[in-house]
């Protein structure tokens, strides 16, 4: 089961042609821009469809195309619930945030905090963003690189450097406008790749297994359960955590994270910005359903075709060759007949279903469930054995499922296209993050504190330097730091630790007119301390999506408390800041 993966010349042509072509076009189209407005906000002449695609491209990182199908494979469709808060958040942002940002003509979301409160609150918001997004951007490059290099056998460092350098070149050169231009093509590539993958997977199902059969097989294994009404706070994906926790996560991400705010600030008008967000609201949930469905269909495919016992084959190979690796090889040998048995029981069950004989169907389902239990047990044994050989072994292999499937079973050309989709996802996110990081340092720190009066050309040059420096910092971070845990969850968890207090700053700014800068500043710091404490001491009891409402609620509460203390001044009403 462990073989060398061959990527053909056609795959290379498709991969390099699309990846370099899009990046090169972005660089060429936007070369020589000298206006700060153009560099940071794309001259505010972007149409709603470009904004919508750009917002989607920023959120859809490479991890989306590796981890999400992996989630569909291992856990079914229920991960989609995390996106239920998105449309609600989008409506709030379109109705409240966008008009205010546009009216104040700000370059960054934190500039708004400075106008509403004071300089220190602006710096706190910008600082928390830089800290959180800086780490996140390193992860955005590192996470897919380790999977791609592991599966394709490419050197990890080279994969990281290739992704980062490409993003740095066109982002530093063309700024926000280059990001907008490339996002359109990257999303086109992503949509095309996903649709092609869907048809190829459906066409790859064994003879006699229709699309409907495949969905029923997935359903019989619990993979079709998309909605979970359980009130358990520790249950990571339920409709409640998705709507209530998700709405705060999405509000924070789309409403206060400069990598997203910059996308819709580039709109020609409030109308274009709002329509772009509404487009994202309507399209995002079906897109995630579709990506999860791909993973679920891959699961069904591997019910009939022999999969590897452990999908991270580089890791598996390493330990089979290590002392104690005999046990792993024996597990591999035991897995083949067990899998064949399970495939036969599934076929029996499908035949019984088609016959309409409910008694036979029940009996066949019981046999199928028993066979499934045996293969699950073997997989658990494999994970235990890996840990017994090396306690630090990474036993989670779901991020490797989709790429393994692509490489093993899809035709050449399509392989190149789908690896290009993964790279496009990575580049599209990193590019937004880089322009946002560079722009925030330039506007909120450099122009605000160091050099308030200079020409546009000077600030553009400064922004380019800061963007480039962030690129180098992120590259170094991705090269020298090691990450663990499921990739997409790591990104979301990281966001959730910082997002609550930052969103709290904005919620107070928009809806609590009497609270002033000093109160909200200390309120945000206290709430950040609380969220970190919850993460350190209660993460086993509270799923990470709940950190967001906790952070927001704590920030509002502590701000009120500090505001009530004697000697703390209230905010002065400002007509231009009315929501």
């Amino acid at each position: 089961l462990v073989e060398v993966v061959h990527v053909s010349a056609l795959d290379w042509l498709v991969l390099l042609g699309t990846t370099l072509g899009i990046a090169g076009y972005g660089w060429w189209y936007t070369r020589g821009r000298k206006q700060l407005d153009t560099y940071l906000r794309g001259a505010q002449n972007t149409s709603w469809i470009t904004i919508g695609l750009s917002v989607m491209a920023t959120q859809a990182s490479a991890v989306t195309f590796l981890s999400t199908p992996g989630q569909g494979y291992a856990d079914g469709m229920r991960f989609v619930q995390i996106y239920f808060g998105l449309p609600i958040a989008m409506v709030i942002i379109a109705a409240v945030f966008v008009p205010l940002y546009r009216r104040l003509n700000v370059f960054t979301a934190y500039e708004f905090l400075g106008r509403r409160f004071d300089g220190k609150t602006r710096l706190l918001g910008a600082g928390l963003f830089l800290l959180q997004r800086g780490i996140g951007a390193g992860l955005t490059i590192y996470a897919p690189s380790i999977v791609i290099s592991g599966v394709l056998g490419w050197p990890l460092d080279l994969t990281i450097v290739f992704s980062a350098i490409l993003a740095i070149i066109y982002t530093v050169s063309g700024g926000s406008e280059a990001v907008n231009v490339t996002h359109r093509f990257q999303m086109l590539l992503i949509f095309s790749g996903l649709i092609v993958a869907f048809f190829v997977i459906v066409a790859s199902m064994p003879q006699g297994v229709s699309f409907a059969d495949a969905l029923h097989v997935a359903g019989s294994a619990g993979r079709m359960k998309a909605i979970d009404f359980s009130p358990d706070l520790n249950n990571r994906y339920t409709i409640w955590s998705g709507i209530f926790g998700g709405v705060f996560l999405m509000l924070a991400y789309f409403g206060t994270d400069q990598s997203q705010v910059q996308r819709y600030l580039s709109g020609t008008s409030v109308r274009e910005s709002r329509l772009g967000l509404m487009f994202n609201s309507v399209v995002k949930v079906p897109m995630q359903i579709f990506i999860l469905l791909l993973g679920t269909l891959v699961f069904v495919y591997y019910q009939f075709e022999q999969p590897p016992l452990f999908f991270n084959r580089a890791e598996w190979r390493k330990y089979t060759e290590a002392p104690g690796g005999d046990t792993l090889r024996k597990l591999d040998e035991r897995f083949v007949p067990l899998h064949a048995e399970e495939a036969a029981r599934i076929r029996d069950w499908l035949a019984a279903r088609h016959s309409g004989d409910s008694a036979a169907e029940t009996k066949a389902r019981a046999a199928m469930t028993a066979a499934d239990g045996q293969t699950r047990q073997l997989r658990a044994e494999a994970a235990k054995t890996l840990v017994a050989i090396d306690p630090k072994a990474d036993t989670k292999d779901t991020d490797y499922v989709f790429l393994t499937f692509i490489l093993d079973h899809l035709p050449h050309g399509v392989i190149g296209l789908l690896v290009a989709v993964i790279f496009a996802g990575g580049l599209s996110s990193v590019a937004s993050e880089l322009t946002a990081l560079g722009g925030t340092v330039a506007v909120d720190f450099y122009r605000n504190l160091i050099k308030p009066e200079a020409t546009d050309a000077h600030y553009v040059l400064a922004s380019k330097w800061f963007t480039g420096l962030w690129g180098v910092l992120i590259l170094a971070f991705a090269l020298f730091f090691q990450f663990s845990d499921n990739l997409i969850q790591a990104v979301n968890k990281l966001g959730s630790i910082f997002y609550g207090p930052v969103l709290g700053l904005f919620i107070v700014a928009f809806f609590f007119k009497r609270i002033g800068g000093t109160a909200v500043f200390w309120g945000a710091i206290a709430s950040q301390a609380l969220v970190i404490a919850v993460h350190l001491f209660a993460r086993d009891k509270i799923a990470f999506l709940w950190y967001n409402p906790i952070g927001v609620g704590a920030c509002v509460f502590f701000s009120y408390v500090v505001q009530a203390l004697p000697g703390v001044s209230s905010a002065q009403p400002k007509a231009s800041l009315a929501a």
């Binding site: 469709m77 409506v91 019989s220 329509l275 609201s281 359903i289």
Partner: protein
């Protein structure tokens, strides 16, 4: 002399999207779509078990 037509709404008051005359209408549509997705997925979960 007929009275002048009522002034047009300011550009930001209307999304200028066919069917939707106000932003509120568009927001309700978006939230309605979310409800539709949830109902669809609930039925989907029930059907494929």
């Amino acid at each position: 002399m007929s009275s002048p037509p009522p002034p047009e709404s300011p550009p930001e008051e209307s999304p200028r999207v066919p069917v939707f005359r106000t932003w509120r209408g568009l927001y309700i549509f978006v939230l309605g779509m979310l409800a539709l997705y949830i109902v669809f997925l609930a039925l989907w979960s029930r059907w494929f078990t």
